[in-house]
């Protein structure tokens, strides 16, 4: 019996065939990779690139079986599995790329990035490539992503007479009201916003969640600039804050107002249904990301013009939200379309060279230009249409995460679903969830503490590996290992244990809460400030 393997079938003598696996089924991605592969072949005639484009829905399972079976493509898009599995896979099945990130990318010769270390050629400084748990750079990010509101320019003008989209929240609501008053050719009212369960988080993260930023002042007990789910629990359990906090209430009130303009039953709909509504010109606005930019324009071609607008935030004078909106939502430069090289790759140097080619300034610009995405490399030009996706590098962010896992989270999801479809009010949501969160949440909080304890054993394992690396190397390399070792030791073992102990004592009522929140003045501090400033003035 002869078992014909695709890989061997396609390999001609002297030709190196590399497989490139990913979940981007959009035609433009496959077309772009093919074109870049053809460009690469012009300078490396013996290298052929074959794509394995796998649907998103099955990608995680496919990735797992391919990696475990030793049949994974040479280069592969990394993701679509749970993070802890991803870390294990990276550790076991992928080649670390750390040794290459300090050297210049040869494909940047003759460009402003010539001689620049690879990691400094990326807009995100390759932060998205580095995995703390593996202590190494593992992937090359080929694109950047962002989310904004897409709108039908022609329909907006026809229904509201406006050339430009609203930039402020109240104005946006008024425009939505105006849109609803009009009927489409079938006699149905227009839908202001095409939404779905897929699209809802793209309203929550940039517009609703930042309203909860004021919680930071009261609940960031460890002063890291974030309110973790554990800190929120401690704050609520101890009565420092309540679910009726104005910032939390505002977040839910705004959802209520916005969802009045979504199509009915949006929570039961998927991505395609919302896109269909938008493409059929029955809705004016839809929030989505750069990954849909090209395909939406394609669908609209010949029918209408697609515009991109930022999220319409309330102004400081807003009677309801004004005091709570402290700025735009913070967005960090972060690379996407992450490609790693598998350990089973027979020609890792060639695979790396192809990825460096794709990460060269001109090539990355071309790749993303064909796809319609934002290049991940600095000094690249991007499509005019995508300029609206430039991230807000200064701003605020959500500080409300009630996810403690376990039954608490299930109860939250059930109640929040009811709230989304207006089956319960905010008052009912709070009345039904807060007591459960405080009581049952304790069990889930304690379970989280156990997870943290389990994590300490894993950290110890990583530390021993780092220590061995440090002991077996010398000079700068050894020094680098020791720095990593001490950083991990401090953050994951020492402070974690002390921090968790402190939280436990607060929750159990064994440690008194500080008089005020971490970013609120205590009376004693105020006195010192007065004394100091008046003394200074005198």
């Amino acid at each position: 019996m002869v078992i014909a393997m695709r890989r061997s079938e396609e390999t001609e003598p002297g030709v190196i065939t590399l497989r490139f696996g990913h979940w981007q089924l959009e035609a433009s991605v496959r077309e772009a990779i093919d074109e870049m592969a053809a460009d690469y072949r012009k300078i490396h005639p013996n290298v052929r690139i074959i794509q394995d484009a796998i649907p998103e829905m099955t990608y995680g399972q496919w990735l797992t079986t391919q990696l475990m079976g030793g049949t994974a493509p040479d280069m592969i898009e990394v993701g679509m599995v749970q993070y802890h599995l991803l870390v294990q896979y990276l550790n076991r099945y992928f080649l670390p790329l750390s040794r290459y990130v300090g050297a210049p990318n040869p494909y940047n010769e003759g460009t402003p990035l010539e001689g620049v270390p690879l990691r400094n050629t990326f807009k995100d400084g390759m932060r998205s490539s580095y995995y703390e748990e593996v202590q190494a750079y593992m992937i090359i990010p080929l694109s950047q992503f962002g989310i904004r509101i897409f709108y039908n320019k022609d329909l907006l003008k026809r229904l509201t007479g406006r050339e430009d989209p609203p930039t402020e929240y109240r104005d946006f609501l008024a425009v939505c009201e105006e849109i609803k008053r009009h009927k489409d050719p079938t006699g149905q009212p227009y839908t202001p916003i095409a939404s779905s369960k897929y699209h809802l988080p793209m309203w929550e993260y940039p517009l609703l969640d930042p309203l909860t930023y004021p919680l930071l002042r009261e609940a960031d007990f460890n002063r890291d600039g974030f309110v973790g789910n554990d800190e929120l629990f401690v704050a609520i359990k101890t009565g420092r804050i309540h679910f009726r906090h104005p910032a939390i209430e505002a977040r839910f009130r705004m959802l209520d107002e916005l969802s009045d303009h979504f199509q009915p039953g949006y929570t039961g709909l998927g991505r395609d249904e919302a896109v269909f509504l938008f493409a059929q010109q029955k809705a004016v606005f839809m929030t989505t990301g750069t990954w849909d930019a090209w395909s939406l324009q394609e669908q609209a071609q010949g029918s209408f013009s697609v515009g991109v607008m930022d999220y319409p935030r309330p102004v400081p004078e807003d009677p309801v939200y004004g005091d709570l909106v402290e700025g735009p939502n913070y967005e960090r430069m972060y690379g996407g379309f992450p490609i790693g090289i598998t350990r089973t790759c027979k020609h890792p140097d060639v695979a790396l060279d192809f990825l460096l080619f794709l990460a060269g300034k001109e090539q990355n610009e071309k790749l993303n230009g064909i796809i319609g995405w934002i290049p991940s490399v600095k000094h690249t030009e991007l499509d005019e249409f995508l300029k609206a996706f430039q991230p807000h590098l200064q701003g605020v962010y959500g500080c409300f995460n009630p996810n403690l896992g376990g039954e608490t989270w299930i109860r939250w999801l059930q109640l929040y679903s009811l709230y989304q479809v207006k089956k319960i009010s905010f008052d009912e949501l709070v009345a039904r969830f807060e007591p459960f969160y405080i009581e049952r949440g304790m069990t889930d909080f304690l379970e989280q503490q156990k997870d943290w304890r389990r994590g300490m054993h894993n950290n110890e394992q990583v530390l021993a590996g780092l220590r061995a690396s440090a002991l077996h190397s010398d000079g700068d390399e050894a020094q680098s290992y020791w720095v990593r070792y001490k950083t991990l030791l401090g953050s994951r073992q020492l402070w974690a244990e002390i921090g968790h102990a402190r939280q436990m004592k607060m929750v159990m009522g064994e440690l008194e809460l500080p008089e005020r929140g971490p970013y609120e003045y205590k009376e004693a501090t105020l006195q010192r400030i007065r004394k100091h400033i008046l003394g200074e003035a005198g």
Partner: protein, 261 residues
């Protein structure tokens, strides 16, 4: 054999513990005990048995670490093996509470036997942290004094930044804001940055110092210095917006106070 040792550690890091054990055992079996690589392999084997998942073999690890200690009396690996034994007492299974007294004694053994070794400084750090977790004021105050003495007598300790950070934690617990700020600044000034890690920066430390200065000490000058450093040195950091707001808030408050409001 050097290659086999390197591969064994590589397997360990990949989580391929069986492969690591096989390779370490191969080196142990093939080399005479007088060869220093024999000891290295023994240490690697002990480490793997102690930390392998999901089935660690702590008994075997203890036996092997003790062999390393017995064979290497004054050596580098003996110090690390002794620390590993202490860590096993401190890092207990999920659901159990460590016997802190036992762990402290084990750490003390490292400190006594290898007083100048890096492992001893690490042992001291872990040992002192066990006195701080309870938040007991008396115990924390005593720890603070021990940390002061240690830092004074070991100004070049490789763990200096972490020692200062632990000192800062003590001051926080004890409610001594001025000392807290000083320790936090020293922890920051003595910290090292891994140039290879793009996720590691001092933005968080800078933010902490600024907010401790503003809200705990009422030292606007220091707060201003560190908020400004955050804005200038980490312009894309998530806390920059808040740092700018802090600078504005302090300026406005100072003006109000000067006006007598």
């Amino acid at each position: 054999m050097d290659q086999a040792l390197a591969e064994a550690w590589e397997k360990y890091r990949e989580g391929e513990f069986r492969g690591a054990v096989r390779l370490f055992e191969g080196v142990v079996d093939k080399l005479d005990t007088s060869d220093p690589r024999h000891l290295k392999a023994l240490y690697g084997l002990a480490t793997t048995h102690a930390l392998r998942r999901p089935d660690p073999n702590r008994e075997m690890a203890t036996v092997l670490h003790r062999q390393v200690i017995a064979s290497d009396l004054e050596g580098d690996l003996a110090a690390w093996s002794l620390l590993a034994l202490a860590r096993m007492k401190h890092l207990v299974s999920v659901g159990q509470t460590p016997d802190y007294n036992e762990a402290r004694e084990a750490y003390q053994e490292v400190i006594d036997r290898f007083p100048d070794h890096r492992a001893s400084h690490e042992a001291f750090l872990y040992q002192q942290s066990t006195y701080v977790v309870d938040m007991d004021l008396q115990s924390t105050a005593a720890t603070l004094e021990r940390l002061k003495i240690f830092i004074d007598s070991h100004p070049d300790s490789p763990y200096l930044s972490l020692l200062w950070a632990l000192r800062s934690t003590c001051c926080e617990t004890l409610g001594r804001p001025d000392e807290w700020l000083e320790a936090e600044i020293m922890a920051w000034e003595t910290a090292e940055l891994d140039p290879m890690n793009p996720l590691q920066d001092f933005a968080w430390n800078t933010w902490r110092i600024a907010t401790i200065a503003e809200f705990e000490v009422g030292d606007f000058e220091s707060a201003k210095t560190y908020y400004t450093r955050l804005v200038q040195e980490y312009p894309e950091d998530i806390r920059v917006h808040a740092a700018k707001a802090g600078l504005k808030r302090m300026e406005e408050m100072a003006q109000r106070i000067r006006k007598g409001e």
